[in-house]
Symmetry: C2
Subunit: 199 residues, 2 copies
């Protein structure tokens, strides 16, 4: 039977998960599927589109949870909204960490088309619930996304280099999470004060 788009995507995801972004070439993908490289372009526009699909898959585990219009939670209060943003941010980090080079793939997709991923919109809604009006909610969401993608990309690059034997293992392991949480608090505390001083 013929190759399907889903097979292409699934195999691409497996290469990414097991070997990383550097090994995810169209030619390697074709080889793993037992097909000529050109065949892929029947199922997929180009590599960028493929990475876009993978980005959505990587982020999928963070797509559940509260949206902006979620009644029955304390997200109606501003401090509740901040708490929700903290939770969402950690969930996104976990989703990115779940796939090798996940943050880099999502960052690539996000750079070429910031609107394509739904994260931004959801976080912006969260910041509106936290009391940020006008452009400010969107700006805050962008800042948070840059922070998350930058942090996790560095974290994954680091562990990739260690696994490759290029870097030695760090003395103090896993303060990465503490560092992430601290930077997150900085951003959220800043948003909270910006809300409380609306002059």
């Amino acid at each position: 039977m013929p190759l399907t788009r889903d097979q292409v995507i699934e195999t691409a995801f497996e290469i990414l998960r097991d070997y990383g972004l550097a090994d995810l070439s169209m030619r390697r993908l074709a080889r793993d599927l037992g097909v000529q490289p050109g065949a892929l372009y029947w199922h997929v526009k180009n590599k960028q589109e493929l990475l876009g699909v993978l980005s959505v898959m990587i982020m999928a585990p963070s797509d559940s949870g509260p949206t902006g219009s979620d009644p029955g939670s304390d997200a109606l209060t501003e401090s509740g909204a901040i708490a929700a943003l903290r939770l969402q941010s950690r969930t996104i980090r976990r989703a990115l960490l779940g796939v090798r080079d996940g943050a880099e793939v999502v960052a690539l997709t996000h750079a070429l088309d910031p609107e394509s991923l739904s994260v931004l919109r959801r976080l912006a809604v969260g910041f509106e619930a936290a009391g940020l009006r006008g452009h400010k909610a969107g700006w805050a969401a962008k800042a948070l996304v840059h922070y998350i993608l930058g942090s996790v990309t560095e974290e994954q690059t680091r562990s990739g280099l260690i696994q490759a034997g290029v870097l030695a293992a760090p003395a103090e392991m896993s303060d990465a999470e503490d560092a992430f949480d601290f930077g997150l608090e900085l951003l959220l505390a800043g948003a909270a004060t910006t809300t409380n001083a609306p002059r």
Copy 2:
């Protein structure tokens, strides 16, 4: 006369400035220098090292200004330290914007070796002056660097796509600076409150 390392670096910088990172290949660089590709490897270890040198050059315009131990300024007070950090951050952004794909080049270098650029250390010193103790100053500096590199990378990617005709020009131009400043204030306000509430 023989090729010098400085010529290699200078020509690489010109390609980057005039044509962008995508055009800066070792082969293109060799062609512009009138030399075979292999010749470059006598002067430079590999492409990564070359990008590291370019990163330092890109950041150079932001290397002046106040350091941590700068007497005779009001940086001795915590709010003065915050003001200094705000100024430094804007200066770094301007330096990155000064070279095509500057933020991406620096981000690449930073990802593979976060210690190599001196920015991080300087910003960490700034956060210490602002009252953050222990790991916190370093964490705050990392957060700020991720934010700056992420913001400016997106800004430059965007203008690159527009120039290439892939994207239409934005309706509201240059709210990029407002967006940057807002995110910056978030981070700095967060740092200020974290300082004032040392419980």
